[in-house]
């Protein structure tokens, strides 16, 4: 795992001091709320419906036990004893007092953490593949490149007042587990003629105008990675729309001027910037790489005793093949039946920290699906691990099932929401668990957003639900056929919306259509793609 040196620590400390000073000037009346708002946002502080929310950055979703424990302690000390893992691999606290914010930031800084650029119109925390460095199917570990980008994007002097927020994801596998093409910039590390390079996808996003990022460059040499990213950002900073907040994301610019014209401008800027010598020295990447070197894996048993059916089910559903055949990556589900997706109590976080220390070389990952991964678990240890998880309510065997849904905080917390997401998620998981249908459905990604800003990724759901306000009443629109993975697609709306009970019925009906029509090993998504919308519509509306 990456460790700060004195320079990194100094940068974070400087920011904590800067924020303390900003808070002081706000209190002295030297800063108006309008002036202070973007500054606190860039330090991760939002004002929600009932309280402040603080969002903590977890760079590329990787953290160690000490950091997870610190997050648990903050949850207990300053929040209501829990935290919420987000779709960008971060953690947010929903019940923070403004006067505690500087102290929390100082507590975070002690364990090399911060809330820098987790909000605001700047480059946000860089996200990545949650199985990075562990999975059998990657070219290289993408995190050294993400770390290089983290440094570059932190306190970038030119790109702190962008037209709108800016999200970057980096992967290095043909399997996309980071919704890479639904980011402002998606980077895939690829190999060409024996050389590694970066493939750039620009202009993806969800929100009210979902777009899949087109590829603008199939290979950027790694010693030009930062320069190319800088060119992409400069064109956006100069020409991204600023007249309308809802048209200000880079996807709109790329869409309006066209991929080819945007690419032409980027290439021209890139050519210019190459002469400016802004790329970090190549040695920097070489310095970063060893932090992500493999831990000392040991050979051991490669199979488990499957005599306990509950354990066998968890193994089948919640483990991912590792590059070392005596290990797996184990997914800790934060989607207990009837629970709040992505929430963990302080106690659970401390347990996960302890288990990471015991079973996973002191390392944890946050998934964009709001679960936690222990990346390197010995197959021999799986039963012990599962036993402890299960006892703590963390053993739900439901990864990538209909119960493993993404849901935004919705109207229970968020001031932007039109409808509640959490109660819907809870009712759906309870219903499918009770009927035993979850298992029959296999991989089925359900994603729920409480408003058109799409924080719950409903556009990318095999089944998506969008909460809207219809004449003062919560109404839910259903969509089908989305995917955030390597087979990326945007979901299409089925037709008129439903009330809360109605949309749950509707989910039931579309899953029945699937079970009825599926062929062979087809997933819900595959069946939908083969048979199209019509049979689903018929079941829903006729």
């Amino acid at each position: 795992m990456y460790k700060y040196d004195n320079y990194d620590q100094q940068m974070v400390d400087a920011r904590v001091e800067e924020f303390r000073d900003q808070a002081r000037r706000r209190l002295e009346g030297k800063l108006s709320e309008d002036q202070f708002k973007p500054l606190r946002l860039m330090n991760g502080l939002y004002l929600q419906l009932h309280a402040y929310m603080l969002r903590v950055a977890i760079p590329y979703g990787t953290l160690n036990s000490e950091q997870m424990t610190a997050l648990a302690n903050i949850a207990d000390k300053y929040d209501r004893g829990y935290g919420h893992f987000t779709t960008r691999q971060n953690l947010q606290y929903n019940w923070i007092k403004l006067e505690d914010a500087a102290d929390i930031l100082a507590d975070l800084a002690k364990v090399e953490m911060h809330a820098i650029q987790t909000s605001g119109n700047c480059i946000r925390n860089i996200s990545s593949d949650h199985f990075a460095g562990a999975t059998h199917d990657e070219l290289v570990d993408p995190r050294p490149y993400a770390e290089l980008l983290r440094q570059w994007s932190s306190f970038h002097p030119e790109f702190t007042y962008l037209p709108r927020k800016f999200k970057i994801a980096v992967i290095a596998s043909e399997k996309d587990r980071a919704a890479m093409r639904l980011h402002d910039i998606g980077i895939q590390i690829v190999e060409q003629n024996g050389e590694l390079g970066a493939r750039f996808f620009v202009g993806g996003g969800m929100g009210r105008t979902p777009m899949i990022a087109p590829m603008i460059r199939d290979f950027v040499p790694l010693d030009q990675l930062i320069t190319y990213a800088e060119a992409c950002l400069r064109v956006y900073n100069r020409y991204g729309r600023r007249d309308n907040k809802y048209k200000a994301r880079i996807k709109i610019l790329v869409h309006e001027i066209g991929k080819d014209e945007y690419t032409r401008q980027v290439e021209e800027e890139f050519k210019h910037l190459l002469d400016q010598g802004i790329e970090p020295p190549r040695e920097e990447l070489e310095r970063i790489k060893p932090f992500f070197a493999d831990p000392a894996f040991e050979d051991g048993p490669k199979t488990v005793d499957r005599s306990d059916p509950d354990f066998a089910l968890w193994i089948d559903r919640n483990t991912h093949r590792h590059k070392h055949d005596s290990y797996v990556s184990a997914v800790i589900s934060l989607k207990p039946v009837g629970g709040i997706p992505g929430d963990a109590t302080g106690e659970q976080m401390r347990l996960m920290a302890q288990l990471a220390k015991q079973y996973s070389f002191d390392e944890l990952r946050i998934m964009h699906t709001q679960n936690v991964v222990l990346p390197h678990v010995k197959i021999a240890d799986l039963h012990d691990l599962w036993t402890e998880l299960d006892a703590a309510g963390l053993g739900s065997p439901n990864m990538d099932s209909i119960e493993d849904m993404i849901a935004c905080p919705g109207l229970d917390y968020c001031s932007l929401a039109n409808a509640r997401s959490i109660p819907l998620a809870q009712r759906i998981s309870e219903r499918f668990d009770a009927s035993g249908k979850t298992g029959k459905l296999g991989e089925l990604k359900l994603k729920i957003s409480g408003c058109i800003n799409a924080c719950g990724h409903h556009h990318a759901g095999h089944i998506g639900i969008l909460g809207v306000d219809k004449k003062g009443k919560e109404n839910y629109q259903l969509s089908l056929g989305g995917s955030e993975a390597e087979d990326v697609s945007l979901a299409k709306i089925t037709g008129p919306g439903f009330d809360e009970d109605g949309v749950i019925e509707a989910v039931e009906k579309v899953t029945d259509v699937y079970l009825d029509q599926r062929e062979g090993e087809e997933r819900f998504l595959d069946t939908y793609r083969r048979i199209g919308m019509a049979p689903f519509k018929e079941a829903l509306y006729d």
């Binding site: 040196d5 440094q151 570059w152 932190s154 306190f155 920097e284 310095r287």
Partner: protein, 139 residues
């Protein structure tokens, strides 16, 4: 003008617009608005002594790119940030090549001094010519 990090004489006459500057062969001071393309000035850099970059609202960050573009092209005259310039923008503006600051509302001097010195070291190469942290690590 409240802060200036230059020793040469202050240009005290008015500025012209970018369009006017391109048409007029003798203008020595120009003002860039957020929507202007700073690159239109590149043929005239030799005769310019002052470029003002206007920030009508501090949240519009186009002026940061304009400043760097001019410095990258070799402009050595005064680069002045004017308009809605606050304490919390100063450190980044300095990094992007601004060397003079004329905020609409005068800023607290000691707050500003502290702000200019926010970053003891920096992660990115920009227009201030500072060595980056990555360069310092590998010296």
């Amino acid at each position: 003008m409240q802060f200036r990090f230059r020793d040469d004489e202050v240009v005290d006459h008015g500025t012209v617009t970018v369009d006017a500057c391109c048409d007029q062969t003798n203008a020595t001071a120009v003002r860039i608005e957020p929507g202007d393309d700073a690159r239109e000035l590149l043929p005239f850099l030799d005769r310019l002594a002052l470029v003002e970059v206007n920030f009508p609202t501090f949240g519009d960050g186009r002026g940061y790119s304009a400043a760097r573009i001019l410095r990258e092209a070799g402009y050595t005259g005064e680069l002045r940030a004017v308009g809605d310039v606050g304490i919390d923008q100063l450190s980044h503006m300095l990094r992007c090549g601004f060397d003079a600051f004329a905020p609409d509302k005068p800023l607290d001097e000691s707050d500003a001094r502290r702000a200019f010195a926010t970053w003891e070291n920096v992660y990115q190469s920009a227009a201030d010519g500072r060595k980056t942290i990555q360069e310092l690590r590998h010296e």
